[in-house]
């Protein structure tokens, strides 16, 4: 009976804590609203440890409050000399053993989950034809932008990571210039993109949770990498497995068919794109320059939710057009220290900018 | 402050005895020196002989450790009384040193 009561209390503590915490933050960035298997395992570990810690704090608080209320000098009398106690073995053994037990309760699942999340056996699996069954994405972190290459599909994209839901997605991450760290808070913990080695881990994107956030999660750089570290954001677009297949096909096809400008302005913009040398850093073909480009690949630029990872295209006050122009004119103040040159009126007339913007907005692969 | 300690706990009558002890100890030192040379030779020969490294590495490391023990305990007198604190701190240092080297050969890759 008593035991049952205790269990019940602990359980309610669990749920209460989980409930309070889940109220925190926005679902597309918050680690407290896990949107995938990996994040959920980590979240459970967090809740377990938080509960243990709350228990510790409560115990300490009880002893503490009694001690500082009962034994005040003002209550006891000014001249009392307390008994000079040396210690107590029983007590000392107690507060050694109980914390050891608590720590073990946390240590066992910690070790378990740590190994579980490092299990990448699935990545090696192949079908009859020797093709890898799991989806693998090569992430290359650059000073303030992200490149995502799909080696088995032979395509590349940047800034907007596109992934299928409800399956494990494997990531090989590396830092191109300095060290960064790859983090999608709602979907799972981070992993460093070291400069000298490839790190591998996996994430799993939950379709239900993804719907909740309109299929868009926020990703961040979590390792100080320079002035614009704060702005090295990326976005994650999730879609169902089938849709993802279609997306891949569409991407692969862009490379084959020559993209034709739809109107004159776009055609002019395309010219500007070539003349100004944009093409030197930014490929518009998803099969080009994988792993070697100096700037983000812009094949899907017109479909991106954000410009440069930070200017929101869905913002009702600012159109995508405004964002693009703002970026081209002021990239240096928007993302201090980034590697893209600034184009002021002398370099690029307003008309050319209009045309360029029109062209960039037309770079779409997968929208209806 | 220097004067708080009295100079010689040992009365000076022990002079002869001390001299003899020192001589003896010196002979020990020469022996350990010979041992060190000998171990060095073995180490070099083991390498020149071209055995496989799984045999040579342990031999080399054991020989080095033995040499160091000789240095510390004989040449540096750690075998004498009053080196308890010294040993405590030296071995703590050795422990930290060991862990450092261990991690660098295991979890710093490539």
């Amino acid at each position: 009976m008593k035991n049952g009561l205790k269990k019940w209390r602990l359980l309610s503590l669990f749920t209460a804590l989980a409930f309070i915490l889940s109220g925190c933050g926005e679902p597309f960035v918050s680690a407290l609203q896990p949107a995938g298997e990996v994040a959920r395992q980590q979240y459970n570990l967090m809740i377990l440890s938080a509960v243990i810690m709350v228990v510790v704090i409560i115990v300490v608080a009880i002893v503490y409050i009694i001690a500082i209320t009962k034994f005040r000098r003002s209550k006891i009398g000014e001249d009392v000399i307390p008994k000079q106690v040396e210690g107590s073995h029983t007590l000392e053994i107690m507060w050694t053993v109980i914390p050891i037990i608590l720590v073990l309760v946390l240590a066992v699942p910690t070790v378990y989950v740590t190994f579980a999340l490092a299990d990448q056996a699935e990545m090696e699996e192949v079908d009859e034809e020797g093709n890898r069954t799991a989806l693998v994405i090569d992430v290359r972190a650059n000073l303030y932008w992200w490149e995502f290459a799909y080696p088995d599909q032979g395509i590349v994209t940047a800034q907007d990571l596109v992934v299928p839901t409800d399956q494990n997605v494997y990531f090989n991450v590396i830092g191109h210039d300095v060290k960064h760290s790859f983090w999608i808070p709602a979907v799972g913990g981070k992993i460093d993109t070291n400069v000298e080695n490839v790190n591998t881990f996996y994430l799993n994107f939950d379709s239900e949770a993804a719907e909740n956030v309109d299929n868009l999660f926020y990703g961040k750089c979590a390792e100080l990498c320079g002035p614009s570290h704060a702005l090295m954001d990326f976005k994650v677009q999730t879609m169902s497995g089938d849709e993802f297949e279609e997306w891949v096909t569409a991407m692969q096809e862009v490379a084959e068919e020559e993209q034709q400008p739809e109107n004159e302005l776009q055609a002019r913009g395309q010219e500007v794109y070539q003349d100004q040398g944009c093409i030197g850093c930014h490929a518009v073909d998803p099969t080009q320059q994988i792993g070697s480009s100096t700037g983000p690949n812009l094949t899907t630029f017109g479909e991106r939710s954000y410009v440069a990872g930070i200017l929101d295209n869905r913002d009702p006050d600012l159109s995508q057009e405004d964002n693009i122009k703002d970026w081209i004119r002021n990239s240096d103040s928007l993302k201090p220290g980034n590697k893209m040159p600034v184009y002021n009126e002398d370099d690029l007339s307003d008309e050319d900018l209009d045309a360029l913007t029109e062209y960039l907005m037309s770079l779409k692969v997968f929208s209806e | 402050m220097a004067t708080q300690q009295s100079t010689s706990a040992n009365p000076k009558v022990n002079y002869k005895y001390r001299r003899k002890k020192a001589k003896q100890e010196m002979r020990q030192h020469v022996t350990s020196f010979a041992l060190m040379i000998f171990m060095t030779l073995i180490a070099f020969i083991a390498v020149m002989a071209g055995f496989d490294k799984i045999y040579v590495y342990p031999i080399l490391l054991v020989l080095a450790a033995m040499q160091v023990v000789l240095q510390l305990y004989y040449f540096m007198h750690m075998s004498h009384k009053g080196h308890g604190t010294v040993a405590l701190f030296l071995y703590s240092g050795v422990l930290v040193a060991f862990i450092t080297v261990l991690t660098f050969v295991t979890i710093v890759w490539w």
Binding site: L45, T110, K220, A222, E223, L224 | T106
Partner: protein
């Protein structure tokens, strides 16, 4: 040398402090310069908080923000917290063990001046082209890529002050091992002495890896080496390991002495012997030992593999056990005691829940798989400010109030002290509690600005408001200090009335030779024992006789100055970094001149014998008051 108090001119006082080898004066030097750097680091923190008060703020620029956060962390850890602790160690430890000075008075002074010049050098970066900007951890890929001389200032400044710290650490170890008064066995040493002992041992073994790491970075940045250049076969993870092999013990170097201060305060103001003294000593040693086994918990996301992560996770959690022993022993010290809530005691009492909260989040961080989420977020920022401010800074503030009378002979105003306390405590929790949630809600640390619409606005504002409370608290403390020193009401040897250890048995401030006759120690809390037997003084362990004292020396100052000068040369001789297009012909000569000054000073020191001097018995007899200078 007369011991009669006399008025001295400003220059004479200055010269006295520049050349002093007296541990009590060196303590004051540490306290003032550490205090100064605390204000500097605090102002940097305030700018950080102002920048982060609202989303998309542009109060400071991106580059400047990174410099601020780097200098805030570096200054607070190396130039504020540690030196302030050294201040109290210097002031109190020799008195607590009944010694006339530390083992190496000359090196004590050298340690201080090295720290001081290293700190000044580091902070000069603000005026000479930009401060370091790669975080206090200065991870290699970024710090190698960082342009300008910021990181060079970091490397050289820390190298110089680190040498000072190592010297001081060895000095305290030898002092505690060799200089204890008759009867002061190890198991009778006060806990502050014990924790100083363990912290010094940690310094001895933790600073060499930092030294090596800094050398490697210096070689890479200034002399063309390739330790951290992946394209040349280098490996940046080496820096991370070396830094954290130093870095984790470093946090215990900070917290253990604070634990020591609190142990003294709990016993004193509960009028009760420290509960479980032996267990406390053992726990201190154990924490120090385990402190070397856990550093990779800062590197869980680096990709060391699950085995390494699991081992280091479990090892880290183990530290909760000895720390818990300490927490409970402190509470049981109060239990059954007679608690008087003086300002130092208020800090001590507030420390228990604050530090426990910070400690348990540490254990949460230790859970490797969960740390993939916490790492490099504000959750970590919250954790370490809880342990550092809730532990170390509260300890320093408590120590300031507690030992002020012993160091300066005057009592800080209790009323103002309590105002400081409450403002600081409230501000501290307001600032940092909410940061736990910021981290979990997806706010990375070290970000210059955060963008709106991510649910981060309100908590950040609250955090900033809290920081202002802390700032006001610090200002009240400064006012308190000024008022106290101006009023200058002198106090006796045991101003708190409940002193237990040897330092309270001698005048405040103590005479420059500390003890006329070394005391005989008859047990733990020797002064308390004497008081309980109705004695007002310690029983002497030796007849009154001449006291041998070391001479003052200007050499430590010169030696440190030489390194300071050489550092400029070393830094500016990198003209081969052609990209910056700078070339300073004077750099190499300056490097050489600086080194010559240092080496010359060392040679003078070793060629010129310095046998010190004696205070004669007769003068000691005359010196009834205990003479303050």
């Amino acid at each position: 040398m007369s011991t009669v108090a006399q008025k001295k001119g400003f220059l004479a006082v200055l010269w006295d402090y520049l050349t002093t080898v007296d541990h009590k004066k060196i303590a004051i030097l540490y306290l003032t310069s550490g205090g100064f750097f605390f204000l500097v680091g605090g102002i940097e923190a305030m700018i950080i908080r102002i920048q982060l008060a609202v989303p998309d703020n542009n109060f400071v620029s991106a580059g400047l923000y990174n410099e601020l956060l780097t200098m805030h962390g570096t200054t607070m850890i190396f130039l504020a917290a540690m030196p302030l602790l050294f201040g109290f160690m210097n002031a109190i430890v020799p008195l607590q063990i009944g010694a006339r000075d530390v083992a190496f008075p000359f090196l004590n002074s050298l340690g201080f001046w090295l720290f001081f010049f290293g700190g000044v050098f580091l902070n000069l970066s603000w005026f000479l082209g930009g401060a370091p900007d790669a975080g206090w951890t200065s991870y290699a890929s970024l710090s190698i890529a960082s342009e300008g001389h910021g990181i060079d200032f970091y490397v050289l400044g820390l190298q110089i002050s680190g040498a000072g710290t190592l010297i001081s650490g060895i000095n305290f170890l030898v002092t505690i091992i060799n200089m204890r008064a008759p009867g002061m066995t190890y198991m009778r040493m006060p806990l502050f002495t014990w924790s100083t002992f363990v912290a010094s041992a940690l310094i001895l073994f933790a600073f060499p890896p930092l030294t090596v790491g800094l050398f490697l970075m210096m070689f890479d940045r200034m002399f063309g080496a390739n330790f951290f250049d992946a394209s040349m076969g280098g490996n940046t993870i080496i820096w991370e390991h070396l830094f954290w092999i130093f870095g984790h013990p470093e946090v215990y170097i900070l917290i253990l002495p604070a634990f020591g201060i609190f142990s003294e305060i709990f016993a004193t103001f509960s009028r009760k012997r420290l509960f479980g003294y032996a267990a406390m000593v053992f726990a201190t040693v154990l924490i120090g030992f385990l402190g070397f086994m856990v550093w990779a918990h800062h590197m869980f996301t680096v990709g060391l593999g699950p085995t390494a992560n699991a081992i280091f996770a479990v090892a880290t959690m183990a530290i909760a056990v000895p720390t818990g022993v300490k927490i409970f022993n402190w509470m049981l010290t109060m239990w059954g005691g007679s608690i008087s809530f003086t300002t130092p005691m208020l800090y001590a009492v507030a420390f228990i829940p604050s530090f426990t909260a910070g400690g348990v989040t540490g254990v949460m961080l230790a859970s490797a798989a969960a740390d993939y989420q916490y790492h490099d977020t504000y959750f970590v920022v919250a954790h370490f400010h809880y342990v550092i401010i809730g532990g170390v800074v509260l300890g320093l503030l408590a120590g300031t109030h507690f030992y002020w009378p012993k160091m300066f002979g005057t009592m800080l105003n209790e009323f103002l002290g309590k105002i400081t306390f409450w403002l600081f405590l409230i501000g501290f929790h307001a600032t940092f509690f909410i940061q736990h949630f910021l981290g979990l809600m997806g706010m990375p640390r070290r970000i210059w600005k955060f963008l709106p619409g991510q649910g981060l606005d309100m908590p950040n504002l609250i955090s900033t408001v809290g920081a202002f409370f802390m700032a006001v608290a610090v200002i009240v403390l400064l006012v308190n200090i000024v008022i106290t020193q101006v009023k200058n009401v002198r106090v006796g040897n045991d101003p708190w009335g409940d002193g237990r250890t040897l330092e309270w048995a001698i005048p405040s401030p103590p005479p420059f030779y500390n003890f006329k006759q070394l005391p005989l120690v008859r047990g733990l809390d020797p002064y308390w024992i004497e008081k309980m037997e109705g004695n007002t003084k310690m029983t002497p362990a030796e007849p009154l006789s001449d006291i041998h004292m070391p001479n003052n020396s200007f050499i430590p100052f010169v030696m440190s100055l030489g390194l300071f000068i050489a550092a400029f040369g070393a830094m500016y001789q990198v003209s081969w970094r052609a990209s910056e297009g700078e070339s300073f012909v004077w750099a190499l000569p300056v490097l050489i001149i600086g080194m010559l000054i240092t080496i010359g000073a060392m040679a003078v020191r070793s060629l010129k014998d310095d046998h010190g001097y004696h205070i004669h018995k007769e003068d000691l007899l005359d010196d009834e008051e205990g003479g303050r200078e």
